[in-house]
Amino acid sequence: MDSLLLRTAARIIVPVQLLWSVYLLVRGHNEPGGGFIGGLLAAGAIILHGIANGMPAARQLLRVRPQTLIGLGIAAAGLSGVIPMLAGLPYLTGVWGFGFPTLVAGTLKFGSPLLFDVAVYLVVTGVGTLLIFAAAEDGEEG
């Protein structure tokens, strides 16, 4: 699709939406949000870029293959559960490390649940983009 309006709008929307997805990701443990919805937003942003500028451009924006994102996410999810096991707690127990204050969103605390949320974010972004890339490129061939 070639539309000047869409391309101009996408140039503004895509970065904002990506930033917003990260915001939703980090606030997700205590407030509505989280890795899943954040990942969907991120995938949506990349797909919007793809619709405006063509899927090759979207692939370039993503830089890595969607499969790599999925792999990283699955590995991070698996490992986030292992961290508490090092402390003798059952698999997937939430352990929290240090927190530091941020200017806009209160205190950001690091811990294994955050890692798990990041993992979900990566997997959802990867799967979302993979699905749309596959569907879009399949459609172009046939």
Partner: protein, 496 residues
Amino acid sequence: MKSALIFPILIPVLTAAACLLSGPNRTVQRAISMTGAALLFLAGIWLLREVHTAGIIVVQLGNWPAPFGITLVADYLAAVMVAVSGFVGFAVAIFALADVDAGRERFGFHPLYHVLLMGVCGAFLTGDLFNLFVWIEVMLMASFVLLALGGERAQIEGAVKYLTLNFIASGLFLTAIGIIYGATGTLNIADLAVRLRDESTAVPLAAAMLLLGAFGIKAGLFPLFFWLPASYHTPPVAVSAVFAGLLTKVGVYALIRVFTLIFTGMPEITHPLLIWLSVLTMITGVLGAAAQYEIRRVLSFHIISQIGYMTLGLGFFTVAAIGASVFYIIHHIIVKTNLFLIAGAIRYARGTNELKQLGGLYRDYPWLGVLFLIPALSLGGVPPLSGFFAKLALITAGLSLAQWVAVTVALAVGLLTLFSMTKIWAEAFWKAEPADAPPHPKKAVPVLMLIPICTMATVTVLIGIFPSVLLDFSNAAAAQIMNPQLYIDAVLRPTP
């Protein structure tokens, strides 16, 4: 060590992730995949040892106490299922190196294979009904893609049926979960056992029937089994072998779990029903096989008839009968996977699995004939192979309950199974090669195919020579299953 319980799930997750991350390099992916499969096998053995020394192992995920959090439980049954799955997963992974083509590997065969194994192990280990649903879905998602991967026309058509029926089964399962949660407010299997064990009212009965339908479809029970022979012969042999060995057993395992722990309040309704369904499953499966002339289709129909034996033990509902079921499941996973692998070797050698186009294999590959006869005769129940003792234990249990019809059918079906196996033997190995056979160069079967086939044949023979080891074990597993208080206490007892 409680962490033994985590590794059968964790190892496949990390292996799948590593395969995805390794990029398109085939050799690296294969190395990772093999390492992961080997580690999973070892983890299964370790878990079995831990359960043997420490009794039922329970992990409350996230340290949330049962029944609020998700619980993982390993008793004898779960542990042995994981160990056998690890064994079969490893063996088929070796076979796949020689069987799965480069295109499928590039499209993610290895990560999907490990996701499938993760789903299977997770389903065996979970102690929560909804979590069981999730693991089964993980397994099914991977199996859908593995089934359709490659996109040959027959594969797509098989996958449509497979997906539709399994989707409906999942929906029934979820419906049952909704009803159970509405009635009891819990989904932890041990907690449900406490609340519903002695109930004989309509609500648990409705839930039990829905679950029977759901797991019955997944296990391939009469009358909703037809998706299985329609799809299992279409993908690459390595895929159909692991499907044949493991996927239907998840359904059987789930049936054993819910009908020994939760729905035991109405034995006059549920267990005769299970017996009759099993009898009909055995008969239709074996008769269906008699009409087929494609090796993998014959074997697919035999999966169905053999599933009948396993659920028959559950229907008898005595320690000896359930012990026989457990024995049967272990024996059948190994034997059936091996038969599919041999079908794969035949396909490799001759380019077809159609009995009408095959022949003369015994002349060209005599040792393959011997390797085929071991699992084939074991499946038919010829002494002294593993299948004989499995059937013997089941039939003894049936006789002591005076279940004459079921026992007669079980014996007759055993005979017909033997007939089917001799049909494959006579058509593929013994008769002269037909003139219209497709041309094929004479080539040796790769060693990577022979290793798993020989190993599994050896295990079949070993079980036959030392049946008492496995028999004692499966009876111990059955004793544990039939004493649900052990399971309930292990899960609900607050952790020190």
